[in-house]
């Protein structure tokens, strides 16, 4: 097994409620736009203050108190340029305007909110993180050289530390995390009628392992972004052992099998009535039923075998099936005579082992 800590930019935090939850850390490329926005806001505020003060200075010059306006201008400039981040982070729960716009937040490394002292430290030390400054020589004039901070020190420490902290964060014991809003609760919906049908062929006492459940959920979330061929290719790795274990037909669509297992694990209810299988009733995906007359075998349609675009690798039988997989059941099964009408629970006649849910585990014991 791999090491327990995920190789990820998340950090676990234990709350006073004794719950551990994960924060996603914000890297340099989320924090840079936030800094630039803050820089713009800061200068915007300074310019507005200067305009207001110059208006006030004009008014005050008649009463002879313009010097106070100038002095307060200097002091305000000083306070805004040095303590903008400190005050905002303290009073807005670890966020400045730029951080709010970029959806990030500063918190303590223990997951607690930031305190005023820590906010001050990390904001004062930003100067050191922006080091070393370079002088742009083409615009430079002797009196006013233009310094451009490169931020190499901060970038280097962010790369080197586990929590992606810059020097100011290290000194203050803080970290910047992603504080996303507007997410959706992902619940995959199953609208393919073949899925519950196939799911009813899994034995009722079959319980998937945790890692399998996780893999199934991830697969169900992602499969919409994949082409059918790619789905089959990915699903095959897990499907082949399942096909062997439950003795399904070898030409079963691996994607459909995984999706059915997902349905079985997450969506179906054991107490539910067996779903109305409609035209699919009577079709068995099991290998031992493969040679029985089902009205489908030897036909051009097999509803659960992979759809048309070439035979799936690893399947022996090559059956040309028309249409894409989504409308295979509709086109090929409607109106067909079904010689052995049965549902999942009905007992078939003859010596065939029952096609019901209890059948398969018993045969597994025999193996």
């Amino acid at each position: 097994m791999a090491s327990p800590a995920a190789l990820d930019t998340t950090i676990a935090v234990v709350t006073p409620e004794n719950i551990a939850f994960d924060y996603q850390l914000a890297g340099p490329f989320r924090r840079l736009p936030a800094y630039l926005i803050d820089l713009g806001v800061r200068w915007g505020v300074i310019i507005i203050v200067v305009i207001c003060l110059s208006v006030a200075g004009l008014l005050a010059s008649f009463s002879g108190s313009s010097s106070f306006v100038i002095a307060s201008g200097f002091i305000l400039y000083f306070l805004i340029s040095w303590f903008y981040g400190t005050v905002l982070e303290t009073y807005f729960n670890g966020r400045t305007i730029g951080k709010w716009a970029c959806g990030i937040r500063v918190i303590d490394t223990d997951g607690r909110p930031i305190s005023g002292k820590r906010a001050m430290l990390r904001n004062l030390l930003r100067i050191a993180d922006l080091a070393p400054p370079v002088v742009i020589s083409s615009f430079a004039n002797e009196a006013f050289p233009i310094y451009v901070p490169t931020g190499m020190v901060g970038l280097l420490t962010m790369v080197c530390t586990r929590r992606m902290q810059r020097l100011g964060d290290l000194a203050a014991g803080t970290m910047v995390i992603v504080d996303e809003r507007g997410w959706r609760l992902p619940v995959a919906k199953v609208d393919d009628p073949r899925v519950p049908a196939l799911a009813s062929f899994f034995p009722g006492d079959y319980r998937v392992s945790r890692s399998m459940a996780k893999a199934l959920a991830i697969y169900a979330e992602r499969r919409h972004y994949l082409t059918p061929a790619r789905r089959r290719e990915i699903a095959r790795h897990l499907a082949i052992p399942l096909i062997d274990r439950f003795e399904f037909r070898a030409d079963i669509d691996p994607d459909l099998l995984m999706y059915a297992l997902y349905y079985q694990v997450y969506l179906s209810d054991p107490s539910d009535e067996i779903a109305d299988l409609g035209p699919l009733a009577g079709f068995s995906p099991l290998r031992r039923d493969q040679n029985k007359p089902q009205g489908l075998v030897g036909d051009t349609a097999n509803p659960i075998s992979p759809a048309v675009n070439g035979p799936p690798p690893g399947t022996a039988s090559v059956r040309p099936t028309p249409g894409s997989e989504s409308h295979v059941p509709d086109t090929s099964l409607l109106g067909k005579p079904l010689p052995r009408p049965q549902t999942g629970v009905s007992q078939p006649k003859g010596e065939q082992p029952p096609n019901s849910l209890q059948a398969v585990p018993r045969r597994e014991e025999q193996r």
Binding site: S72, A128, V187, A213
Partner: protein
């Protein structure tokens, strides 16, 4: 019960918690969530109930075999609610007097970094002053150190005797607060990198010292006016620069003298130690700025400025030595006081 039904059931509460979070993120209150039972204290109680429920869901997520997407969602929901429940500590102005008058002087007195910074600063300052005054030792030292142009500008500035109106004083003290405290804060920030801080400190010491030495030459016009100007605010300002650098060095030194801690942990501990020193330095910068704005350029008699200078030096000495002297007995008493409630509890 299957997972989908479980999720549907829990989802009602989760979305209620989300709406509460929305409301709290905007205003810090639960009133605007749109539900009637979220007003005031009731809303906060409801919020914490829902938060604990979400925590419990997250804790049981593994047992319920929730899909990973839902677990991610729960992590975010709990994190978001956690950020609203445990909000940032505001500044505590009532603790500032303790920091300025107890923690800071004790830290300054016992910190070797303060000694190093002071020796570097005042040592180089005295050396540069001596070399700037005496042109025969290293000929042209002052011109090369500060620049001929700046020196002549300096001479011109102090040719006329000091006189200024109140208007001028007020605006200049504002400028000095901005400019000099800015230099101090920059020195402090670069302290974590050690070398830029030392370079900045040494440069300030050499440049200032050379100017002082140059103006002290007998053949320079305006020397008397210059010293009349700098006498009053000198003690505050020079000490403040040295202290700012010392606070910065404290953080940088933490990288090397870890005292058995991990390096990052050591930086953190030392940075928290440096904050009171920096606060004291900022206070001195402000005092220096007002002195420099109001007393230094005024046409007051020199005696008053000299007395102010002596007084301010005494004040700094009192602050560092008397307030900062390590007091074991006092500490012991305060420890006892602090210990009693815990024993009772």
């Amino acid at each position: 019960m299957n997972v989908a039904k479980l999720l549907e059931k829990r989802r009602v509460q989760w979305s209620e918690l989300e709406r509460l979070c929305d409301a709290m993120e905007m205003r810090g209150r639960t009133d605007k969530s749109g539900f009637k039972h979220h007003q005031g204290a009731q809303g906060i109680a409801r919020f914490s109930t829902l938060y604990r429920a979400a925590c419990a869901d997250l804790a049981l997520a593994d047992t319920y075999q929730l899909p990973p997407g839902t677990v991610t969602y729960l992590h975010r929901l709990v994190a978001r609610a956690h950020n609203q429940l445990y909000r940032a500590n505001k500044f505590e102005p009532q603790s500032w007097s303790t920091i300025i008058f107890e923690t800071a002087p004790q830290q300054i007195f016992s910190d070797p970094c303060v000694r190093v910074a002071t020796i570097v600063f005042f040592g180089l300052f005295a050396l540069a002053m001596y070399l700037g005054r005496n042109d025969t030792l290293i000929p042209g030292f002052a011109d090369r150190m500060v620049g001929t142009e700046q020196l002549s500008q300096l001479e011109d500035a102090y040719e006329a005797p000091l006189a200024g109106s109140l208007d001028h004083y007020v605006s200049m003290s504002g400028f000095y607060i901005m400019h000099n405290t800015g230099i101090g804060l920059r020195c402090f920030a670069y302290g974590i990198l050690l070398i830029p801080c030392l370079i900045s400190l040494a440069y300030n010491a050499l440049a200032l010292g050379t100017m002082f030495g140059y103006m002290a030459r007998p053949d320079v016009v305006g020397g008397d006016n210059f010293f009349e100007f700098v006498t009053a605010h000198g003690p505050f300002e020079l000490t403040a620069i040295a202290l700012a650098a010392a606070a910065g060095l404290r953080i940088g030194i933490g990288l090397f003298y870890t005292g058995g801690l991990a390096r990052t942990e050591s930086i953190r501990v030392n940075a928290l130690k440096a904050v009171p020193v920096m606060a004291a330095s900022a206070l001195l910068f402000t005092l220096a700025a007002f002195t420099e704005g109001f007393i230094s350029p005024s046409p007051l008699p020199y005696v008053i400025k000299a007395v102010w200078s002596v007084f301010s030096s005494g004040l700094i000495s009192f602050y560092i030595v008397v307030l900062g002297f390590p007091r074991e007995a006092g500490e012991f008493a305060s420890q006892l006081q602090a210990g009693e409630p815990t024993d009772a509890a």
